[in-house]
């Protein structure tokens, strides 16, 4: 029985890197899906029903079953559409390594990246940039080990860690642009510079990776909101 487009839905928002993980995975498996966008500032009934625990995007709805948490969604997609290209490696140790770095990128590195945008003074910004660069040095090393001379962490084809980390490239470029910093650097992280270009050009990625300028607009709106919230009451 063919899966019709309405059988697979993704609840999300186009700027979200976490939502991108689900979309890239479905694209990789050539699975048609309906992309239902949430509006900024309000949560749809469908979202509240499908993800009552966190009330957040992304949510994958397959048939009538919701799946939440982006990396859980990626593994689900890999397991259900098993005939498509493999997202996770086969070997248990390689799988553990990919999961380890995906968790690191999500829980440590991405918050440090956001820290650059949130920093109010020069000192704080400099410290935040250093933290991000330290993380990128670790990821460069992980890339060298994992890619074994090929283009992606997954080797010849994009895999779990490419998706888990690559989804943040849009925001990384915005942070570079808005703060006048170069985070991915040909001298310090040549492997990742090459990887980033190849990842963003990949057929499964290029239509869902937002343009830097559009993301920059969103970033400015969010930053203004944060400054407004942080400003002391008069």
């Amino acid at each position: 029985m063919a899966i019709t487009k309405s059988d697979v839905k993704v609840l999300g928002m186009w700027p979200s890197p976490f939502v991108m993980r689900a979309r890239i995975s479905l694209n990789l498996k050539s699975v048609d899906y309906e992309f239902l966008q949430e509006t900024f500032g309000s949560k749809s009934q469908l979202l509240l029903q499908s993800n009552p625990v966190y009330k957040k995007v992304p949510v994958l709805i397959h048939g009538d079953k919701p799946i939440c948490e982006s990396l859980v969604i990626v593994e689900y997609i890999d397991e259900v559409w098993a005939s498509g290209p493999s997202i996770l490696p086969c070997d248990p140790y390689d799988r553990a390594t990919a999961r380890f770095w995906a968790a690191y990128v999500s829980e440590k590195w991405y918050p440090s990246l956001k820290g650059i945008g949130a920093a109010q003074e020069e000192e704080a910004k400099k410290a935040a940039v250093e933290q991000v660069e330290e993380g990128l040095a670790l990821l460069e090393e992980a890339y060298e080990k994992s890619s074994k001379g090929k283009d992606f962490f997954g080797g010849d084809e994009i895999g779990y860690l490419d998706i888990a980390f690559g989804c943040f490239l849009g925001w990384l470029r915005v942070i570079e642009k808005l703060n006048g910093v170069k985070l991915l650097d040909q001298t310090k992280t040549p492997g990742l510079v090459n990887w980033a270009d190849k990842f963003c050009a990949h057929t499964a990625v290029k239509d869902v990776m937002p343009e830097t300028d559009k993301l920059a607009e969103i970033a400015k709106i969010l930053a203004a909101k944060l400054r407004g919230a942080a400003a002391p009451p008069k």
């Binding site: 625990v53 397959h62 079953k65 799946i67 939440c68 948490e69 859980v72 969604i73 593994e75 689900y76 397991e79 259900v80 248990p92 140790y93 799988r95 553990a96 999961r99 380890f100 968790a103 690191y104 670790l138």
Partner: protein
């Protein structure tokens, strides 16, 4: 050739307990190495250079860090015995979601319950009881989170039961009176040898915390 398995651990750690349980479920022989967290061994620092934390599972010289990642590794390598994750992809996704929920909530909120005071502690206690409610909702009428058999979410959660005396005594509240279902699940889980051998007694953990607070000069 025999497998060489080493576990770098710290006996009160709920994260370490998860690995002990998983290895016991699979009947894997391993060498247990107790770490002094104020004086971490070169092996630990080498094996987990990014986080420098326990538990670390070392299998034939290769190190796996992060407890739930290591539990999945154990489940995948020793796949012929006591599967911890179900085979159905949707049920697997549910198991991963709930184990992640336990990871995001139990340790941090529990820590706040026993290390803070006043309003912050009251908020933490409320959140803690809410988490237990949510988890009871997920458990439903099943004997275990894994259904008929003990599974991934059960492994993720049961270690926090050993810390319950710490939360209840320092938080001055009772989890049992509000959540008998959770307690019943915990006691059922402790009937399993893999769990009872891996999870220390609540009194032992409480005494450890008292000792630690004295050393740190906390009231």
């Amino acid at each position: 050739m025999a497998d060489q398995v080493v576990l770098l651990d710290f006996w009160p750690s709920p994260f370490g307990m998860r690995l002990r349980i998983a290895l016991a479920e699979k009947g894997v022989q391993y060498e247990y190495k107790e770490e002094d967290l104020r004086n971490k061994s070169p092996l630990l620092l080498q094996s987990n250079p990014v986080h420098k934390k326990i538990p670390v599972l070392i299998h034939n010289g290769k190190a796996v860090s992060e407890s739930l990642i290591a539990v999945q590794y154990v489940d995948e390598v020793w796949k012929d015995k006591a599967p911890l994750l179900p085979s159905d992809p949707h049920l697997r996704a549910q198991a991963r979601f709930w184990a992640d929920y336990v990871d995001k909530k139990m340790y941090e909120i529990g820590r706040k319950v026993w290390t803070t005071k006043g309003e912050e502690q009251d908020a933490a206690k409320k959140e803690f009881l809410e988490c237990i409610s949510v988890l009871e909702g997920e458990l439903g009428d099943k004997p275990y989170f894994g259904g008929k058999t003990f599974g991934f979410v059960d492994v993720a959660l049961i270690p926090f039961y050993s810390w319950l005396s710490v939360y209840e005594k320092f938080g001055n509240f009772s989890v049992e009176s509000e959540h008998p279902k959770f307690i019943a699940w915990a006691k059922r889980s402790l009937e399993k040898e893999s769990v009872s051998k891996s999870v220390p007694d609540q009194q032992k953990v409480y005494d450890f915390v008292l000792e630690m607070r004295k050393k740190l000069g906390v009231e």
